[in-house]
């Protein structure tokens, strides 16, 4: 597998195996796109699902093989590359289509193919009454291809190909049930908002390339970048360090893809897609692309402390605001969507304070419990005949125990109960945030409490109390099939134990996860004081506030000590209204961006109508007045005096009128004659 000739070189290994990790899902997608209808009519939905699940699992197996062969290498030579074909060689731009596999890609691909395969399997159960299943599975596989290209690509350009590819698949899958206008609109919204972010990303890449070029040698290949970016130190553009500009532009891209303020508005709407899509694309993988990108370029971001400051502040604000919005939502998937936005905020806090490994760690644990939560909600929605409003659920734990238990475990994990995955990863972030700035920590700390509250609110409203569904739905309530529940069980186990990959030193672990990633993302030293007591104290505090949130949710939604309605009326009811309406951000965009565009076009229309038409009409008007005047003049003065002159004027008018014939030929003759005359005049010397 490993080419011995390359292995001898400076710690770069080469493997032809790597390309098949993304290509197998691509093949699966191609088969289902081209032959899907035929397979489905011959072999039923099982046929297309088998193609999709098979290619996804095969890809997973390859990832596992590659992962273990990576582990076998020496710690600092863990980089496998596979150059497939030459791509662009123009001027100083030299890019090949190539993939690279290092600890960071390994983690990402394990998550994508592992959780992706589980979601593929789950989809077979979920889409059991879908006539266009072939299209669904083909798109899922295509998404896998694009996402794997994004994380395996060895250059910014190939990463961008994947970056756009996942956006395209996201658009197609959000609007999968395209007969419903709401879904297509949501897909378009996601695509357009992402486009704004992508524009920033492209600008960042261009600027990076351009400034590297002027610093001497340009490249967009990841493994060549770290050695060259040093040349950008001290370079200014518009009075700003160019590295800061580059990273800010790239971060704009990340805010789009990863739904951070101000571009987060698309993610809640994206829930219009089928639930497995929400789990795979809008929780576990695609939305984490921004985090991955910053992790991949951490050496660049580390050079721009100002950008990191911006990242941290925006991330903390996003984590907090999204969490507060989550309190007031009644749609089960919307709650999870805002929870995702909030958790992505956590990851970006980690990135912003330079705790790269902690951010990626949270990405992994989040992928487990959020995928489990989404799939669990999908199981509920499936059983409830596509009812998503929690106010019409309740008491479901008796009907679907397996879904309930897995959902509960994932909720415990996201709330950060000690021992679960969320506890370790979230505390790692909060601890690093505290070392950077206590204010950041406080925002994250508050959000942790709110998260625990709204997640348990969701659990209590959905699974506890009386069933509020109508008779018909209640009769058909049933646990979902094994295709759906077994992935849930596996994910729940992951939610419980994935955290032990990175037990911090303070708790007697060795933080193996961060250690594994260290060769890629490096390590940012904190000047702050390391006090074990403080670390324990912070842990206790976040466990405490999570417990408080859970207790509060239990008191309100199970014990009914306070009624939720009376709480909603606190402060005249406006906080609740603001949360319910998502801080009116959509309305804000409606009032500014949309209204602005419409206003501008109205202005242009007005300009066209009034000024342009006015000039035309005005000249006609002037001509008419002139004609009238000359007519009057003719009639009163000239006509009476000299008939001959009048005749001449009349004849001239006739001639002039004929000029305006509307006939193309006449105009052309005039042009030709004039041009020929000019030519002759010019050459007559």
């Amino acid at each position: 597998m490993v080419d011995p000739h390359h292995a001898a070189e400076v710690a770069v290994h080469s493997s032809q195996l790597l390309r098949w990790i993304p290509f197998i899902p691509l093949l699966g997608a191609a088969v289902n796109f081209l032959l899907g209808t035929r397979i489905q009519s011959r072999a039923g939905r099982g046929g297309v699902a088998a193609v999709a699940i098979g290619s996804s699992l095969a890809s997973f197996v390859l990832v596992v093989i590659s992962f273990f062969s990576l582990l076998a290498f020496d710690e600092h030579s863990r980089l496998v590359i596979d150059t497939v074909a030459p791509w662009i060689h123009i001027g100083s731009l030299n890019v090949d289509i190539g993939f690279q596999f290092d600890p960071l890609s390994a983690v990402m691909t394990l998550v994508i193919t592992g959780i992706g395969s589980l979601i593929h399997i789950y989809s077979y159960g979920y889409m059991d009454d879908e006539p266009a299943a072939w299209r669904f599975f083909a798109l899922l596989n295509l998404f896998m291809f694009a996402m794997l290209t994004l994380v395996l690509g060895d250059s910014l350009l190939l990463m961008f190909v994947g970056w756009e590819g996942v956006g395209l698949c996201s658009w197609a899958l959000i609007g999968f049930w395209h007969q419903d206008h709401v879904n297509t609109t949501a897909g378009n919204k996601a695509f357009i908002v992402n486009r704004i972010g992508d524009f920033g990303f492209v600008l960042g890449v261009f600027l990076l390339f351009w400034s590297l070029d002027s610093a001497g040698q340009a490249t967009v290949v990841f493994r060549e970048l770290p050695a060259l970016v040093g040349g950008l130190d001290g370079m200014l553009l518009w009075g700003v360090p160019v590295v800061t500009l580059i990273t800010l532009f790239l971060f704009v891209g990340a805010t789009g893809k990863s739904a951070q303020i101000p571009l987060f508005v698309w993610l809640p709407d994206a829930m219009a897609g089928p639930t497995p899509v929400s789990a795979l694309i809008h929780a576990a993988t695609m939305v984490t692309a921004g985090v991955y990108m910053i992790g991949r370029l951490s050496f660049l971001f580390a050079m721009a402390p100002a950008t990191l400051e911006v990242v941290a502040i925006i991330a903390a604000a996003t984590a907090f605001f999204a969490a507060t919005i989550g309190i007031a939502q009644n749609d089960i998937k919307k709650v999870l969507a805002y929870s995702t936005v909030s958790q992505l905020g956590y990851m970006f806090i980690a990135m912003g304070v330079g705790a790269w490994a902690a951010g990626i760690f949270h990405l992994v644990t989040h992928a487990f419990f959020k995928a489990c939560l989404f799939l669990g909600s999908g199981s509920v929605i499936h059983a409830m005949h596509h009812e998503q409003d929690m106010r019409r659920m309740g008491g479901l734990r008796h009907y679907m125990p397996r879904t309930f238990w897995t959902f509960l475990i994932a909720t415990v994990a996201i709330a950060g109960v000690p021992g679960t995955a969320g506890f370790f990863s979230k505390d790692e972030i909060l601890w690093n945030a505290y070392l950077h700035s206590p204010a950041l920590w406080f925002m994250g700390f508050l959000s942790a409490g709110i998260t625990a509250f709204y997640m348990f609110r969701l659990v209590f409203m959905t699974f506890y109390g009386e069933c509020r569904a109508d008779e018909h739905t209640r009769e058909h309530l049933h646990e979902s099939s094994g295709w759906m529940t077994w992935p849930l069980v596996i994910l729940a186990v992951g939610s419980l134990f994935a955290g032990f990959l990175g037990v911090p030193a303070a708790l007697g672990g060795s933080n193996a996860f961060a250690h594994f990633l260290e060769p890629v993302v490096g390590h940012m030293e904190h000047s702050g004081h390391h006090s074990l007591a403080l670390e324990y104290g912070l842990m206790a505090a976040s466990v405490g506030i999570a417990g408080l949130g859970i207790l509060l949710a239990w008191l309100i939604y199970v014990k009914k000590v306070f009624s939720a309605e009376s709480l909603a009326r606190i402060g005249g009811g406006w906080p609740h209204r603001v949360f319910l309406n998502k801080y009116y951000v959509d309305e804000l965009y409606g009032a500014t961006v949309l209204r602005g565009t419409m206003g501008l076009s109205t202005l242009f229309a007005w300009f066209d109508r009034t000024v342009v038409d006015g000039v035309v009409n005005g000249s006609a008007y002037v001509t008419r007045i002139g004609a009238t005047l000359s007519g009057v003049f003719d009639f009163r003065v000239v006509d009476g005096l000299v008939n001959l002159t009048a005749d001449a004027i009349h004849a001239f008018g006739g001639v002039v009128r004929r000029v305006q014939t509307g006939s193309l030929n006449t105009y052309l003759y005039v042009i030709v004659v004039v041009v020929a005359a000019v030519l002759f005049a010019g050459t007559w010397k």
Binding site: R657, V659, Q660, T661, G662, S663, L664, N665, L668, Y669, V672
Partner: protein, 104 residues
């Protein structure tokens, strides 16, 4: 050794082609025929551009311009023919001598 062919030769071909296009535009009554004439005129201009880029000074600029011309010609053909089709659908004829609704 002086080259057997010079700038003037190519300009002559260009001029002849231009006048053919001009004649076509002037005499055709069929709108599509007129568009063909316009294509001839544009090609004549391009021949000149390329000839200048080869024999004159200025290097590659002439070729770049001719590429822009070709691009605009393609755009013009697409839009022009779409308009012709629109007129045909509306009036059943593409005879320009009958297109006189702009007569003053």
């Amino acid at each position: 050794m002086p080259e057997a062919l010079g700038l003037q030769h190519f300009l002559l071909v260009g001029a002849a082609l231009f006048c053919m296009g001009l004649y076509c535009v002037l005499t055709r009554r069929n709108a599509i025929g007129i568009l063909m004439g316009v294509e001839l005129v544009l090609n004549a201009a391009n021949v000149n551009y390329i000839a200048f880029s080869r024999y004159g000074v200025g290097g590659v600029d002439g070729q770049v311009f001719s590429i822009f011309v070709i691009m605009l010609a393609a755009a013009e053909a697409a839009i022009g023919l779409a308009i012709v089709l629109g007129i045909y659908r509306r009036s059943g004829s593409i005879d320009v001598s009958q297109m006189t609704s702009l007569r003053g």
